[in-house]
Amino acid sequence: MILEVSGLVKRFGNIHAVNGVDFHVAAGEAVGLVGESGSGKSTIGMLVTRLIPATAGTIRFEGRDITALPEAEMRPLRAKLQIVFQDPWGALNPRMTIRRALEEPLKLHTGLDTESRSARVRELAQRVRLPVASLERFPNELSGGQLQRVSIARALATQPKLIVLDEPTSSLDLSVRAGILQLLDEIRRETGVAIVFISHDLETVELVTDRVLVLYLGNVVEEGATRALFANPAHPYTQTLLSASLPPDPDAVLRRHPVIGETPSPIDLPPGCAFASRCPVAIPSCREARPPATPLGEAHSAACIRIAEGANLLTS
């Protein structure tokens, strides 16, 4: 197991951002975290890469508990545990050339001499299909798609075991996005790096990941193999979410499940199921205790008490 997370909790003051999340990522696996704004998906990305401290729970990376590892001991591990952010303009130092941005992690984490660093930088640029001439440029001279390639190259520089990708294609245009997805696909095949893919875009998650976790207000409401979960969503929230997606095909039939209102505030979370206030099939006992995960077959489970009586499926 590359990454094992259990009982992860994060509070920002009185905001309950992540409320007891368990998951694991095996070597070479691509795990998706999907959810809407406020679901805690990006917070989880920052927690597992130790960019922010957890309030409770444990994070194990390659078997080692890194939850409270001192920064000095964490630093060598960072070479193997990388993150790529949504906004490539904000992720790169505007005063550093692309070459320096790519060289920096090599200086920090490897003992390579100047010449081999330079060779490695060229190799990385070629790998992400960045023109070699752009190495001497500054971030403001490149397009968004090219900058995201730089971010990916920088994450790859130290040969990581796991890369967390937080909405890596959300700020990019469609055709540029396809190029980045293709690049990620190639990199996974070549290097066997495991990825955590955070996105609100269901179609992209379906394309990229092997396994997926659906988050709602800091809780995992459903998880499973991507194909199984998209084919048979069990949690009412997952069903609602999938039914709201609009496939780019005018002949696709939409079976939309209406929801009540919008995601409530994460400040005063109710004791029971977080989705109960918007759920069309909620019953009074949904509001009493947090529903446990109900197994639904191989590696597929959903946290809904109405599954037992088969009342979880939404109609209309």
């Binding site: 809407e36 469609l174 055709s175 997805l181 293709q182 875009d201 780019p248 209406p258 919008e262």
Partner: protein, 317 residues
Amino acid sequence: MSLLSVEDLHVHFASRGMDNQLRVARALNGVSFEVEEGEVLGLVGETGAGKSLTALALLGLLQPPAVVAGGSIRFDGEPLSPRVRGTRLTMIPQSPHTSLDPLTRIGDQIVRMQREHASVSKKQAWERAREMLAEVRIPAPEERLRAWPHELSGGMAQRVLIAMALVNRPRLVIADEPTTGLDVTVQAEVLDTLRELVRAHGMSAILITHDLGIVAHYCDRVAVMFAGVIAEQGPVRAVFREQRHPYTRSLIASTPKRIAERGFREMGGTPPDLYALPEGCLYRDRCVRAADICVQPPPNMAFPGKHTALCHFAAEI
């Protein structure tokens, strides 16, 4: 006669560089399209294709250095007059929270919108504002009229903007990425509300988006923009089924669903430099079909059902 007809619209940005040389960015390069009565037209394209700029030009909201350098816009058969704007032609802007005045209650903003364009009493306008909030399905409209913008969720704020755009009963409403910042579950509901109102009042709409899913399910016709021209336009079904322009083809092939079905297709390149547009077809540097003839300006080829494509090879694709 079409409700709106835009013909050969050109918009340029003129600026002086550091060397004091005048530089002109040709942002719209001959945009022509029509919107019929009761029709929803989707305007799609990537960043910088000129979608929002087209909307701003229609609404007369272009600011220097942007200037209309040519072309005509006719509304209801007449050259578009400023009186039409804000009443018969209105806009739903993109980001709900920056588009509402943070220091004015919702009700007062909707009242102002009406009194700016017609002589109605405050009381009448307030009553109409309440009706409008109910129409866009805001619960407890009476109370919401007294709410401040920051008290609204993203979805509610977007509904208020729809109410403001429709309060003067326009004949054409332009919605610029009306759901971009919203969650998927909320997005669908807001689009449903918009579509229902447009239908119920027999209005027409231009829906600007980069999301092909929205086009597929909420528009009747679609116009695909690239580098300030409309590369292809036609009925949504026809365009999704038979793309006639290589750009439309590559856009649709880039959606995750198509990638899952057919794998990755090579596509590359960046949009052309608007300061130094090439002669001939503007897409040719990125085009897989590009040939020698593409240095000539491409013809706008017509296909059945008002389906057109700006490409030398449109008939063969």
